[in-house]
Amino acid sequence: MQELDDYINKVKSLPPAPRILPELLSLLRQDDVDSDRVVKLIAFDPGITAAVLRLCNSACFAGAAPAGDLHEAVSRLGFKQVYLLVAAVSGSKMLGSAQKGYGIDSGELWEHSVVAAVAAQSIARSCGDDESLAFTATLLHDLGKIVLAEALEHIYGELVESSQSQQTPLIETEKRLLGVQHAEIGGRLLARWNFPENIVSAVWFHHQPAGAQPHEKLAAYVYLGNMVAYFMGYGFGHHAFALRGRAEALSILNLKPECMPGYMIETFEQLQLVQSLVKINT
């Protein structure tokens, strides 16, 4: 744990903690959601409020009349959609920058994260599970790359050479060269930011979902959403596909490998939503 904290503490430009996201998530968990509390919580951050209203009135979400304030936005779109917008706005602040250490340009990690999150949301929905939770965990799954990118920049050549010549997954190469890897760093950072344990665990184990027990289902949604994004070309970096296939991700959810094409098609259908979320920070 100390080693993870040391890495996190070393980073010069750590993204700001998304204060309202964990709280909003716990509000959403309640059976009887109090609309006033949701609005008050979001209004706490004027930047997020403005971005949510802008998105709410964009072509992808706009209804007959524009929403003038958060109350209208919540009553028109519903909590789930407003939550999704808040998560996306918060996420873009954390994940929008370039990650040179991974060979990722500005915006690419964010785009990857949004596609993966939309895919995981579809999968969770089809399994009758909490889609907001799957969306959030998947949206933040690569947060650790923000932390490690700086450290990796100096050993970039070695990393590429190593995962190419030895055919090892990127995450194992990170562990060998740095002593830590991006999934555990991301999980640790989210824990420090008071995110619920299920999200922390799902991010921590997003490359080996069985390790996330008792939150292995959530970790499996993240794993599969991530996979769909890679398949569809929304995976970036010099060694994008250096990942291990984990059949357990399917068996945890009682899914068959044949279901993957269907989830790819569902994600394809939502690329317009993806594009409007991707453009949040531009």
């Binding site: 190419q164 569809m232 291990r244 296939g245």
Partner: protein, 178 residues
């Protein structure tokens, strides 16, 4: 004889999205499809009429969703490839002259074959080509990289931008001389 396009003529980039295709006989046009992942980019080109097309397929087989295949034939190998050839024939391209290049089909490390969409895409494509007696002139398929593919309609040249390499590479050079 037609004059070759002057180097100063501005090229016109046409983006082919995922599950889409485009054909052209306009020598100013460069067809481009980004970030193939496990999808396949299929470029065809007739050097005599200087017409060609580019397709970005996502999945091997349309039987999973035949309604989708009607709306978006470019999504699947079995519907996209015939649609691409038919569109090129409209531009007087002929099957026996067609130069075919293929890229993409990336694969994760998956010895169990549970997530082998890239491999299955390529297998479906080569099977379809064999049935129609078509040969691939050049290909760069599989591996763990993302690829972006460009087809230059003036020359038939196919270029790739590969995610772990700084420079573009030529997959198939100046097909008009063949």
């Amino acid at each position: 004889m037609l004059a070759a396009p002057t180097p100063t003529s501005p090229s016109q980039k046409v983006i082919v999205g995922i599950a889409e295709m485009a054909v052209s006989s306009n020598p100013a046009v460069i067809l481009t499809t980004y970030s193939l992942g496990s999808c396949l980019g299929i470029a065809i080109y007739d050097p005599v009429v200087r017409a060609g097309g580019l397709l970005h397929i996502m999945l091997p087989d349309s039987s999973i969703n035949s309604a989708k295949a009607v709306k978006q034939p470019g999504m699947f190998v079995d519907t996209g490839v015939p649609a691409l050839f038919r569109a090129a024939y409209q531009l007087r391209a002929e099957k026996h002259r067609m130069i075919i290049c293929v890229a993409g089909g990336a694969q994760i490390m998956d010895s169990g074959g549970f997530f082998n969409i890239g491999t299955r895409n390529y297998e479906a494509l080569t099977k379809l080509f064999a049935e129609h007696d078509l040969k691939i002139q050049a290909e760069q398929v599989g591996g763990m990289v993302n690829r972006t593919m460009h087809l230059n309609i003036a020359t038939g040249e196919v270029r790739l931008k590969i995610s772990n390499q700084p420079q573009e590479v030529i997959l198939c050079k100046n097909s008009t001389t063949t």
